[in-house]
């Protein structure tokens, strides 16, 4: 499982440019599913056929990760940029970023600012070790995207890495596809695009499938660190069954089925009410004539930072929970 997580987390894939992640997933699941396709937004849709009498179940995890996009190159070779997805400005200072071609950049700020509170993204730049605009343009172009660097490591049963939002969800679905649970239902393993910029890929993916039921597999925040906001989810105490976030209220039947599946199989679980952030379920549930949707979330600390942290037991239990749910 850790190998799958590591491979996916270290693959380059900012919003709108997820192809490498899709290719890595195809390598992992081919032969285990009956059909693999993509759509114009780049969503990867892997279908495991049922026996015709079951339901269509869509399981969605997004492939894209937060990053930066180059908007300007100055004559000394420094890059200006904008955010892709939600980036807290103070968190990205001093970080390394990596472009698709491997070019590494360092983010720093205009030091004549008098108060660090005023350090916004338009006061920051990326240094890619170029001495001039010409040198810089050999390495990157306007519109090129970079992702944050951050090793994937294991420690005391936890995984620390960049991009666990949402490669951990992708890893859960890959593992589930490999386990190939026996079921009458038709399972759509959907790896979506552009979640971080507004749940965009999931919308067209769901429209192309129109499933009977859908789950978003994503991360959720926790309430177990010093001085954090109140939230009744803790790392290591089981996958979280979504009740609501800012984008969706889980369909009660979907939520209850998840709880039943967990209880029946003695899988630890927690209930998630996330105060900030949304998930793909937000755009799936209002697709076409409406799709009953919910979510299974992996509790994660430090979401949208370069050292997001999850507990491997929660990940394994999420796979188990989904396995019994789809049956």
């Amino acid at each position: 499982m850790f190998d799958i997580i590591k491979k996916l987390a270290q693959t380059y894939g900012p919003s709108g440019n997820e192809k490498k992640v899709a290719d890595a997933i195809i390598e992992m699941v081919k032969g285990k599913v009956d059909e693999i396709r993509t759509d114009p937004l780049g969503n990867l849709i892997c279908v495991k056929k049922g026996n015709g009498s079951g339901k269509k179940i869509m399981l969605a995890a997004h492939m894209d990760e937060i990053g930066v996009i180059v908007s300007y190159i100055d004559d000394k070779g420094f890059l200006r940029f904008s955010n892709i997805g939600g980036l807290p400005p103070l968190v990205i200072l001093g970080q390394r970023v990596v472009f698709e071609n491997g070019t590494i950049g360092v983010i720093w700020y205009e030091e004549d600012i008098d108060d660090m509170k005023n350090v916004r993204i338009d006061k920051m730049y990326i240094d890619i070790s170029a001495g001039s605009a010409q040198e810089a343009e050999k390495l990157v172009k306007i519109g090129d995207m970079a992702v944050f660097a951050g090793d994937t490591v294991k420690q005391s049963g936890r995984v620390i890495s960049k991009a666990l939002d949402d490669r951990i969800g992708c890893a859960v679905l890959v593992q589930l596809a490999l386990n190939a649970p026996k079921t009458d239902n038709e399972i759509y393993y959907v790896f979506t695009t552009q979640e971080e910029v507004g749940l965009r890929g999931a919308r067209t993916a769901a429209f192309g499938i129109i499933p009977d039921m859908a789950l978003a597999i994503d991360v959720c925040c926790t309430g177990d660190t010093p001085g954090c906001k109140h939230m009744a989810v803790r790392l290591g105490e089981g996958p979280a069954i979504k009740i609501k976030d800012r984008s969706v209220i889980a369909h009660p039947e979907v939520k209850d089925r998840l709880i039943d599946a967990a209880k029946k199989n003695n899988i630890p679980y927690q209930m998630e009410i996330m105060l900030r952030g949304g998930t793909d379920a937000g755009s799936i549930h209002i697709t076409a004539g409406g799709i009953p949707s919910g979510g299974v979330s992996i509790p994660a600390r430090y979401v949208h930072n370069t050292a997001e942290t999850v507990d491997i037991k929660d990940v394994e239990n999420a796979v188990k929970l989904l396995e019994s749910f789809v049956k």
Binding site: L41, N43, I84, I142, T204, G208
Partner: protein, 355 residues
């Protein structure tokens, strides 16, 4: 190109505040009806035109929005002055001291302000409170005002287009009559594949018309023709200038509504380079366009934006460089000529390929 500029000037002198685009739409119909195979107006007011292609290419949607920012009469005071709401993004400082015209009959009015002699020092230097502004239509009381205008009437700026300086055009509503005028030109040519030219409504209040238009068309590819922000005035750091007036039409890689299709944008840039058409990238990730709505329609659409830089956008005196407008038409034409052979539509993978 003479025609294009004439059409553009004519279009900016018509009023089409979001939700009330009839005058603009009727004029566009009169200009395009001989060039298209079919056209209709949908329930929202979008004008959807169709040109059958000669071959087997993709289905291409071209979008330009007919609506412009403006005001709406919301209340008539007992003294005959009108209170109003803004439609689309307009800031109060832009409104003060402007001539306007109201409703179908174009009743003249002015957005007044307290004379400088009577203002306190704070009033002179502080921001303008939108709520304190009223429109004066010269009526002596509410009764007389009610005989001239109605609540709900749209209010447009009374500013005629003017060509000036070095090939510049100053006008209201250049956002997005530049797109409309460009789209009219594009519809005059024949193409290999089916073209849906969509003149959409209510973009300025949340990209609404494009949502229903693209639902009807279900395109493979969409090209959005826009007027975009331009901030190349003194004291701006170059990296904060979104576009530069006169340096060619702007391509969007990302804004708040969309990440443009990378393959399509790269294709447009290469077409521009091959044909020696100047172009630039919009250097800030700001604003939104209909591309954001169209992209997530159905099972997904490959989208890109070609936009003319507009200085002082969303004011009655927005300014374009006429060469940017002309190059926008030229570039879009060349792109349409080359799309069928060069774009991967994922058709071969679309639900069929087994790995």
């Amino acid at each position: 190109m003479k025609d294009a500029l004439k059409n553009l000037k004519q279009l900016t002198s018509l009023d089409g505040i979001s939700g009330d685009e009839t005058a603009v739409r009727d004029h566009i119909i009169s200009l395009i009806k001989d060039y298209v195979d079919d056209y209709y107006v949908d329930n929202m007011g979008n004008l959807i035109t169709y040109k059958k292609g000669n071959g087997d290419g993709p289905k291409v949607m071209l979008d330009a929005h007919m609506d412009e920012v403006g005001l709406m009469v919301s209340h008539i005071n007992s003294d005959g002055l009108l209170k109003f709401q803004t439609i689309g993004g307009i800031e109060a400082r832009v409104l003060v001291g402007k001539r306007v015209r109201i409703g179908e009959n174009r009743v003249p009015g002015v957005i007044g302000l307290k004379p400088i002699h009577l203002q306190s020092a704070r009033e002179r230097s502080g921001a303008v409170d939108k709520k304190s502004l009223t429109i004066d239509i010269g009526a002596k009381d509410r009764e007389q005002a009610e005989s001239m205008v109605e609540i709900g009437d749209r209010v447009a700026f009374e500013y005629d287009p003017v060509e000036f300086g070095d090939n510049k055009l100053m006008a209201k509503a250049l956002d997005d009559r530049v797109g409309c005028a460009a789209l009219i030109e594009l519809l005059k040519d024949d193409y290999e594949f089916d073209i849906y030219g969509c003149f959409t409504v209510q973009e300025e209040v949340g990209l609404k018309g494009a949502k229903t238009a693209s639902f009807q068309v279900i395109p493979d590819i969409a090209l959005v023709l826009e007027g975009t922000t331009c901030y190349d005035v003194p004291d701006t750091k170059e990296h904060s200038m979104s576009t530069v007036c006169g340096k060619g039409p702007a391509l969007t890689f990302m804004d708040r509504s969309v990440i443009a299709d990378r393959e399509l944008v790269a294709h447009i840039a290469s077409v521009a380079e091959k044909n020696g058409i100047p172009y630039q990238y919009k250097k800030t990730v700001s604003g939104g366009t209909n591309a954001g709505r169209i992209q997530v329609n159905g099972t997904g659409v490959k989208v890109a934006v070609i936009a003319a830089p507009c200085r002082y956008i969303h004011t009655p005196v927005s300014v374009i460089d006429i060469s940017d407008f002309e190059n926008m038409i030229e570039l879009a034409k060349k792109v349409l000529e080359t799309i069928p052979v060069s774009i991967n539509l994922y058709r071969e993978q679309g639900g069929k390929t087994n790995v």
